[in-house]
Symmetry: C2
Subunit: 344 residues, 2 copies
């Protein structure tokens, strides 16, 4: 059986891990957990060459140098360089058009954390089997809290190796998120997908014909240099930016899901990062130099100055160059609303 | 009637306003409130030459340059330079020995804040009248909370222009502090005193003969240069370090007090400083550049980096060079226990 082709999407900088993540230091390339960046961890996840073919990367021209700087020894088949960000439907369509029609694509963001690689590989094989059977497969993550920052998937009837998707649900408010949890049968949408390249393109053409044609035109007008593929910029500019969830997964009648409880986190804000890092007996997490007195569940992340904290609980302190961030764990989701991450 | 001679004690650096206060930048000389340092504010308090004679300063050799740098145009009669710190009984005795026996001394720390100068002057005159009548006078501050960081004075029977002191009470625990407040008749000991120089020396000789003799020997062996008096170092080294409260005020049968509700604060920690600064409608206080989102009663004090704070209440953030302090308002009293202020 053919190996799975990982398609790694590497765009966007994100504002919610500001001040560590900045336009010059986007989230995927930061060493937030352990010694590797999230991007490096993502590439390392496909090390088993019995399962995975070389990785196809899709990134933006602003991120290309960062991507190349962290490729290391990873086996990649090429890099598609988008002239501008156009969301995930276009990025995946580009990759699908550059692959054989019967290739099974495993689409992965480059800025998520997955703690258990064995479970990830098992879910990847399971999703690939469904993809070969014609399904468009989403990875569902069992929810552990009433999170309002994620989309949800309502599980449908069981099929061989997984479930049908009853429906996708956009980010809910607090009350709905709590109802999902108590009702059961809902998973977080982990942003990982598997499908056959040909079937994805068919479904895209069916539900988003204009988007499909615009991407084809950009590929037709593109050029390849040293394993880097550059879509035609003029055609690319006309592409409508839509997420793959909205453009394809919510439209198709062949949506399926696998359950993948593999210690997934999108590291979507500082609270999520704190939770993914190892804490001491008091729940405190320190990177850099810190002096904590009467503290619980405090995270300090400092690139240079010593940070001394007294008498606090569930507070996060980040020092990065000329910026200091102090936030409650709960407030971490609002960091993007500060002036700093908006470039003010 | 002779004018009052202010005796300003200017020693010690204090650790509870770390990292702003450091051995190289002691608390009295920091511009913590308004444009003047607490030391400059203290000197400015004696501007009315109808009431006050020129100030006599007592400081340590390590602080002399700082004192001289902030004297400005203030009228001073001299500076006594202690070879080493020996607490307040010795410092006041030095000043008393350098003044005429009938001089009325008004002893003031140089690192307290007094918001209402008119009330201060009124209390100074009142205390001086009592001092001329032979009393040793303490300034009592009406307590506004069950503070455990201050000594207390139990008010005794009324006398002309004030009250007898029933007794001095050392820093109480929380339960006793609360009992003082509900019982009434207790004041905070503000650390300001008035007495005749001669009577102070008599009482010191009576209750602490060894300390009295050691200070006299240090003065006898001292030398004056350019208005700076340097006590003899060898004799000075033999002085026992005792507070004036303990060595004299608690011992004498002539202790009196005036009530002085003049907006006094010893600015003893960051919470006290926050309370003394002007806050905005949400109770937030900012010095330097800050960006506050969903915050209440937060103080930011930064010498350079921008400090962004999200979703916190009653938290204080201080940035000073290579040190960042984040403390709960309640935890501010424990800042001195951190490694930084202990020079570690």
């Amino acid at each position: 059986m053919d190996r799975i082709t990982p398609v790694v999407l590497c765009g966007g900088s994100g504002t919610r891990l500001w001040p560590r993540s900045r336009p010059s230091a986007p989230k995927p390339f930061l060493r937030l957990l352990g010694e590797q960046s999230l991007f490096e961890q993502t590439l390392a996840r496909f090390g088993d060459t019995a399962i995975f073919a070389p990785v196809l990367l899709v990134t933006g021209k602003d991120q290309l140098a960062l991507v190349e700087g962290q490729l290391g020894e990873s086996a990649i088949s090429g890099i598609i360089v988008e002239p501008e960000p156009k969301s995930t439907a276009a990025a995946i369509a580009l990759a699908a058009l550059r692959l054989p029609g019967d290739a099974v694509m495993l689409v992965c963001p480059s800025d998520h954390h997955i703690a258990d690689n064995a479970l990830f590989c098992a879910a990847a094989r399971q999703s690939a089997a469904l993809a070969r059977a014609g399904w468009l497969v989403a990875f569902g993550i069992e929810p552990t809290r009433a999170e309002t920052g994620y989309g949800y998937i309502k599980r449908g009837e069981p099929i061989e190796g997984g479930f049908r998707v009853e429906r996708f649900v956009e980010k809910p408010d607090q009350a709905r998120a709590e109802a999902f949890l108590s009702e059961g049968g809902y998973c977080w949408n982990g942003g990982l997908f598997a499908f056959s390249a040909g079937i994805f393109l068919e479904e895209l053409a069916r539900h988003r014909p204009a988007l499909s044609q615009a991407v084809r035109a950009a590929v037709a007008g593109g050029k390849e240099e040293d394993n880097r593929f550059h879509p035609g910029a003029a055609a690319f500019a006309r592409i409508e930016a839509e997420s793959v969830d909205y453009a394809v997964m919510e439209q198709t009648s062949h949506a399926a899901m696998v359950e993948a409880n593999m210690g997934w986190s999108d590291i979507g804000n500082w609270q999520a990062l704190r939770d993914a890092r190892e804490a001491d007996a008091e729940g405190n997490v320190v990177r850099g130099t810190a002096d904590l007195l009467d503290c619980r569940n405090v995270m300090v992340d400092s690139d240079a100055p010593r940070v001394s904290v007294v008498g606090l609980e569930d507070v996060i302190v980040v020092v990065d160059g000329d910026e200091v961030l102090v936030t409650s764990a709960e407030g971490a989701a609002k960091v993007g609303k500060l002036k700093g991450p908006q470039g003010k």
